[in-house]
Amino acid sequence: MAVIDRHASEVRIAGGKLPPITLPTNCPGCGVALDPEHLRKQVYVCDCGHHFRMGADGWIQLIADKASWQERWGDIRSHDLLNWKVPKPYQETVEQLTEEGLNEAVRTGMCTLAGRPIWFATFDFRFVGGTLSIVAGERLARGLEQAAASGTPYVLVSASGGARMQEGVLALMQMAKVNAAVGRIHSAHVPYFSVLTDPTFGGTAASLALLADINIAEPGAAIGFTGPRVIKQATYADLPPGFQSADFQLARGQVDMVVPRVELRRLLAHLLEMYA
């Protein structure tokens, strides 16, 4: 995208220094042995083009300008509403992940990107598969409402298996809650850019992730409603290679573009300049 090249000199590929992530010893894309430090400098994209999953902390560092991140509502916590016991008590799951330093499946806040203020929210697949929960929905809805009210562009990064089973029907209701708030963004003529990363499925794909003004998929990301395992179970169908891939969704009109992570920030900066 030649038009974006003019941002190349002033927009860095990441706003800050990315945290380390858990990596396999070899790249699943090309098989070469991985050098974590080398990969970190190229925002966890292998030379072969394989994109590794990042957590919320990584995405915040990538998107936000250095020292601009102001997290909001980080203190709201999930509760075991359904008294979920098997195969593992939900409360235990949540406590264990929290002890590991994760803060729910969605984190949100304000920051700048190339100097422009945005509301930013990112899923974290490491927290119960990035599942949409009451806390996730609440953080998303509040951020969307604030963005709509203040006229600040909204940027989302998704990585989610869908609604969280352990919060039952109230997790399902989060889809309506956040979509209502997305409606406010659109009514307020506020730009909303959604970055769909691997994987984005179920209640997250069927709610805010695909409702942006511009839907951007990462190369190789699996995106869909029903996961391939369940499709096979339900219909005994053999799914062709590449089914539900980012390119599949591009060809079927569900996303506007497939953009490598190294170009993402430059693209967002360009879009913010044009739309904000």
Partner: protein, 280 residues
């Protein structure tokens, strides 16, 4: 009330799925005998899993929607077991705008295991179709009342369930995922469906307690299938009682209340402090 106190959760699930239960068309026949069915999403197709149309209900032209499962094998195949494809959600939203144009209130009857979990639905954008429908329902400037009459399965049900009032028949269920799907996700084993159902809290009483639905509609003794006419009469009475106050509400207030109904749907925290996050 029936002998529901003796039913296990799984028995309620089976009752909600009982193929002898009245389906959407059985209720429509009784509630709006002059029903005119409307078809098609005006983009690419029609979805037989969702019945849509207009009829005179309590003296007023009303738009009815409902999942239709089908009883004979042939009918089930043609209705796709009440599992909607993207065309169904697009048809619903087209006709919701149609209803809004003429000021017709909307009644939506929910009875689906979920949206169709197959490759064809994925290829035509089922996720975006559901997402778009859920968002669009919040802008439809006429009263909407929804009733779960059997199975309320996942996003497929919610895609037809954004309403000003949502009620449930006594032996119906409403869940984030079918017990089989939840078992498959949590245990990676869908044979654990009974345990999953017990944990999901998906019965009408559970949903009323969580504040997700406004009312439980009592079914005839033995269940809705025991007496279609009586079941239809109770549903009719409850639906109309809920729609009446909405008919005189100013549109802005109606839409604001619909927004707030879902925005704070997990906020039974006002009554029960352990429910949901605290609002700061």
């Amino acid at each position: 009330m029936s002998d529901e106190t003796t039913l296990t959760v799984w028995q309620v699930v089976e009752l909600a799925r009982n193929s002898l239960r009245p389906y959407t068309l059985d209720y429509i026949q009784r509630l709006v005998p002059d029903f005119v069915e409307l078809h098609g999403d005006r983009l690419s197709g029609d979805d037989p899993a969702l019945v849509a149309g207009v009829g005179t209900w309590h003296g007023r032209t009303t738009m009815f929607f409902g999942h239709q499962k089908g009883r004979s094998l042939k009918e089930r195949v043609s209705r796709n077991w009440g599992m909607m494809h993207p065309e169904g959600y697009r048809k619903a939203i087209r006709l919701a705008h149609h209803a809004a144009k003429f000021g017709f209130p909307i009644v939506s009857l929910i009875d689906t295991p979920g949206a169709y979990p197959g490759a064809a639905a994925e290829e035509r954008g089922i996720a975006a179709a559901i997402a778009g429908a859920i968002m669009e329902w919040f802008r439809i400037p006429v009263p909407i009342v929804a009733a779960v009459i059997g199975e309320g399965g996942s996003g497929g049900a919610l895609g037809m369930g954004v309403a000003d009032r949502v009620i449930m028949l006594e032996n119906s269920i409403y869940s984030v995922a079918s017990p089989e799907a939840a078992a498959s996700i949590v245990w990676r084993d869908n044979s654990r469906k009974v345990e999953a159902a017990e944990q999901l809290q998906l019965t009408s009483r559970d949903l009323l307690a969580m504040g997700v639905v406004e009312e439980i509609v009592a079914e005839p003794k033995g269940g809705a299938h025991a007496d279609f006419d009586a079941a239809a009469a109770s549903l009719d009475e409850a639906l109309y009682r809920h729609v009446q106050p909405l008919l005189v509400q100013p549109v802005e207030q109606l839409l604001q209340h619909r927004y707030e109904r879902f925005r704070y749907i997990d906020s039974l925290l006002h009554a029960e402090p352990h429910f949901g996050p605290k609002i700061d």
